[in-house]
Amino acid sequence: MRVLWVLLLVLLYLPPAVAGATLDRVRRTGIVTDVLITQYPPFGFIDAENQVAGFDVDVARAFAARLGVRLKIETPSWESIVSGRWQGRWDLCICSMTPTAERAQVLGFPVEYYASPTVLVVHKDETRIKSVADLSGKRVGVGMGSSFEKYLDHSLRIPGEPPLAFPFHDVIAVPGDETINLRNLALGPGVRLDAIVASLSTAKAATESMRSLKILEPVLYWEPSLVATEKGDAEWDRTVANTVAALKADGTLAQISRKWLGMDVTTDVR
């Protein structure tokens, strides 16, 4: 009886098609479904009118407009997106994702749309840590499952870039929620954390609202953020790459970038 019940519910909500025919589906339904994370200002968040807004959202809107279809945004958990096998639920992820070897096994990364500087954040009263080399043996907070975690354990490889230098060793990485980490760092140098590795935009937003943090120069490395798609659909990947290239060429991306980040991170600046 339970089986029947489950089957009934399945029938009530079976989306069309399977991966491999994404472009056909998008053209046929006139809708492209994008996923992003809404707890990551200024890239994705919920604004005062309860609408999804941010850099990633505006890029998605421009993408849909360029393609001539409507945009539908969904907000599943990061694990759901990153584990791939979307089974046709979603078409692409303009969600500030950095490619890694594991993710590349289940996702396609057709095109880069911006590069984000990664920085080191410390408490403003911090005296012992002056640069990334001073991180050895310290407790450093990073977002759970993020590329920053990989950076700390020396395993980060950025496809298409020369290997990174890791001038530190034996760092005690503290993976967790980024916001909670920032609050913990704000308690004081070494109280719960010694430092945090995060993207510049996250760091800027945090230092602006919590006056007790500061960002160290220089930028540790540039993290490319690519549009992610379900793996194996070459035709759709080409479409995505071409559309984003067009948005770059006519300055749309640069405009969105300046609006949200105060600077252009979409054109190659290293």
Partner: protein, 264 residues
């Protein structure tokens, strides 16, 4: 020991509650929270406004998911309890296996398997459906055990007397055993459902904008963590209290007659 009469007792209980509420309010006031911000976000948190995609959100979604899951879980639990009490070896084996599996694995794992892993073998469920299925199957397993123990606690003599009268099986089950078992089932079942109210937040993993997700999103966007988390906690609490009132009424209705031993 002397027992105070119930009127004075109730009076003092309410006074204590008022005092605690005052203490809480004073503590919250001392945090200097941005009440205006909470006020601005309240309609969204409560679900009085719809999400951008037109679906219900916030507390309204939480209530809907909880209620729908409770209903389905009850159905699943009844079937499972019947299986666990059955003398049919196949029914017993299936029911026991299911109950053990779904009580023994974390709810989070179950949700993710249903939403992310099933698609790999071709079963693709929508976000809301996945959440309802996971919650119903998980809580159904726990509720089945509660139902079974309630039924078993009804004295054997009741069943014998009913059989001796020649009552048909369905009358014995629904008119003799069930009302007595319900009196014992309702308190633990109520506790389960209050817990489900909070576990319904797991549907946010699939992109649904329930109360917890909204509170966290707003908190991160505006850095008003205290305001949003407290607001969410308060709303959950009010929902729980509302549910406990319902449970109290149900307990009174099913305890009728049985609890009245004092006046001879």
């Amino acid at each position: 020991m002397f027992v105070e009469d119930s009127g004075r007792f109730r009076e003092k209980v309410w006074l204590t509650w008022l005092g605690l509420a005052g203490l809480l309010a004073w503590g919250v006031h001392g945090l200097h929270l941005d009440i205006a911000y909470i006020g601005a976000k309240l309609p969204f948190l409560l679900g009085l406004k719809l999400a951008p995609d037109g679906f219900i959100q916030g507390a309204a979604l939480t209530i809907f998911v909880s209620a729908a899951s409770m209903l389905c879980a009850s159905g699943v639990a009844l079937v499972t309890a019947a299986g666990r009490l059955s003398s049919n070896p196949l029914a017993f084996a299936l029911a026991t296996f299911y109950a053990s599996l779904f009580r023994g694995t974390p709810l989070l794992v179950q949700v993710l398997i249903i939403y992310l892993a099933l698609p790999q073998i071709g079963i693709v469920l929508g976000a809301l459906t996945s959440g309802l299925v996971a919650l119903s199957l998980n809580y159904g397993a726990y509720l089945a055990e509660t139902i079974r123990s309630g039924v078993m606690a009804v004295p054997a003599g009741q069943r014998e007397a009913a059989l001796a009268l020649g009552l048909p099986r369905w009358v014995i089950t629904w008119k003799v055993i069930a009302p007595q078992a319900l009196r014992l089932i309702i308190p633990p079942a109520g506790a389960l459902f209050v817990s489900m109210l909070k576990d319904s937040s797991l549907v946010s993993l699939m992109g649904l904008w329930e109360l917890n997700f909204l509170a966290q999103s707003y908190a991160r966007s505006s850095f008003r963590y205290m305001e949003m988390l407290l607001a969410a906690a308060l709303i959950y609490w009010i929902l729980s209290v509302g549910f406990e009132v319902v449970q109290f009424r149900l307990e009174r209705r099913f305890g009728r007659g049985i609890a009245v031993v004092t006046d001879r």
